[in-house]
């Protein structure tokens, strides 16, 4: 694991070799998350975005089974904090997301996780967490590089993540 701090942005990255470790990273974030946190997940199909979200939900004390809201756009769960789980893969225009009251979801006391957040870049506030997941085929099928970036002091807690 590496962590660094540059111009107010925290960078943490991991190379992992199993789904369990993806879940563990998510769980740690869920345990540390504060009301109003916004977590963007960026990575190709099958890299583990939903698994990270499952981990975050577990860390938030949510016992429901988390499924990807590909067709519903957003699912809401209740735990230590509320969780809004977005998947904007099917969205062709950020306006569509805006028009379902997106701002009211993300500027609330809930934690918001947004899969494929790169599709709606213009709607993401300056302060957010960005998690980028890449496959590492040269290492093996289950290997991933997970890069976590925290934009804003409120995300200082990312330094504490260890697996």
């Amino acid at each position: 694991m590496n962590s660094s701090y540059y111009l107010g942005v925290i960078f943490v990255d991991f190379v992992i070799d199993s789904v369990e470790k993806t879940l563990a990273i998510g769980k740690k974030i869920g345990q540390l998350a504060n009301p109003g946190d916004i977590i963007c997940l960026i990575g190709d199909l099958g890299t583990g975005k939903t698994h990270i979200t499952k981990g975050i939900a577990e860390g938030l004390g949510i016992s429901d089974n988390i499924t990807s809201p590909t067709f519903t756009i957003v699912n809401e769960y209740s735990g230590r904090l509320k969780l809004n789980h977005f998947d904007v893969y099917r969205v062709s225009d950020p306006d569509e997301i805006y028009a379902i009251g997106f701002d009211e979801y993300i500027f609330s006391e809930s934690v918001s996780v947004i899969e494929w957040a790169n599709y709606i870049e213009e709607l993401i506030p300056e302060e957010h967490i960005r998690i980028i997941i890449n496959k590492l085929p040269s290492h093996g099928e289950n290997f991933r590089k997970i890069t976590i970036e925290g934009y804003g002091d409120r995300y200082d807690y990312l330094k504490e993540i260890q697996i």
Partner: protein, 237 residues
């Protein structure tokens, strides 16, 4: 004509029963946005306390926005359901009008502002002349700085109210010589104010269409500008 009005455009959930002669009763809860949970039981309680049933209501008034996306849809669907079920008319009124009406007989400009997030507000400018509320502008979604610039062109005192008034109080006070802020008891959307405006509309035969009426949402251009500022890209290009 006895009407039931509800307002769910802001954090405040409010319902009231009024007729031409008096406000019979009103319940307002200004605590967390939980309209889907509390609004219907509130109406039920209000009617029961007034020894009325829904059959005693001759018409309905609901907030049409701008305001909270989810809140508006909850209010609109609830009143449409009641209107269709009872076959009684309904009319929608902007909560901005209702807020301005809270400040009847106030001099200068009355400026209700609702939080539209990202430092934007929903607003319209009003004045009260000869017992009438005059709307000076259309409904707008503006950055708070744009609103301040606009208000500086009018050279008179401004009274602010609404859920964004507290949020921007310091900034507004610094920007103007003569500003007033509504006292807390008037600083929330009251279903009775909304009902008062709606009742006169219904009495003059103005009503909304069940299937075509929808809440008004005003676009916030701010998100676009933020994007362009951050990325240096033209969103249309």
């Amino acid at each position: 004509m006895r009407i039931l009005s509800i307002d769910s455009a802001t954090e405040c959930a409010s319902c009231a029963v009024i007729d031409e002669n008096k406000l019979l009763g009103e319940i307002s809860l200004n605590h967390k946005k939980q309209h889907s949970v509390i609004l219907m039981p509130m109406v039920d309680n209000l009617l029961k306390s007034l020894e009325l049933t829904i059959k005693d209501i001759d018409g309905f008034v609901v907030s049409k926005g701008p305001g909270s996306f989810t809140g508006l849809r909850i209010g609109m669907s609830m009143i449409k359901g009641l209107s269709q079920g009872t076959n009684k008319p309904f009319v929608s009124v902007s909560s901005l009008d209702a807020l301005a009406y809270n400040m009847a007989y106030t001099g200068g400009i009355i400026c209700p502002i609702l939080d539209a997030l990202r430092d934007n507000v929903y607003t319209a400018l009003y004045s009260f002349k000869n017992d009438n509320l005059i709307k000076l502008t259309d409904y707008m979604a503006l950055h708070i700085d744009e609103l301040i610039e606009m208000l500086k062109q009018y050279d008179c005192s401004v009274t602010f109210l609404g859920d964004a008034a507290n949020k921007f109080k310091g900034k507004l006070q610094k920007s103007f010589d003569k500003t007033h802020f509504a006292p807390n008891n008037l600083n929330l959307v009251k279903a009775s104010s909304l009902g008062e405006v709606g009742l006169s509309l219904l009495n003059s035969g103005i009503k909304d269409e069940l299937f075509s009426t929808a809440p008004i949402y005003i676009r916030k251009p701010q998100a676009v500008r933020e994007y362009e500022k951050r990325t240096g890209l033209d969103i249309n290009g």
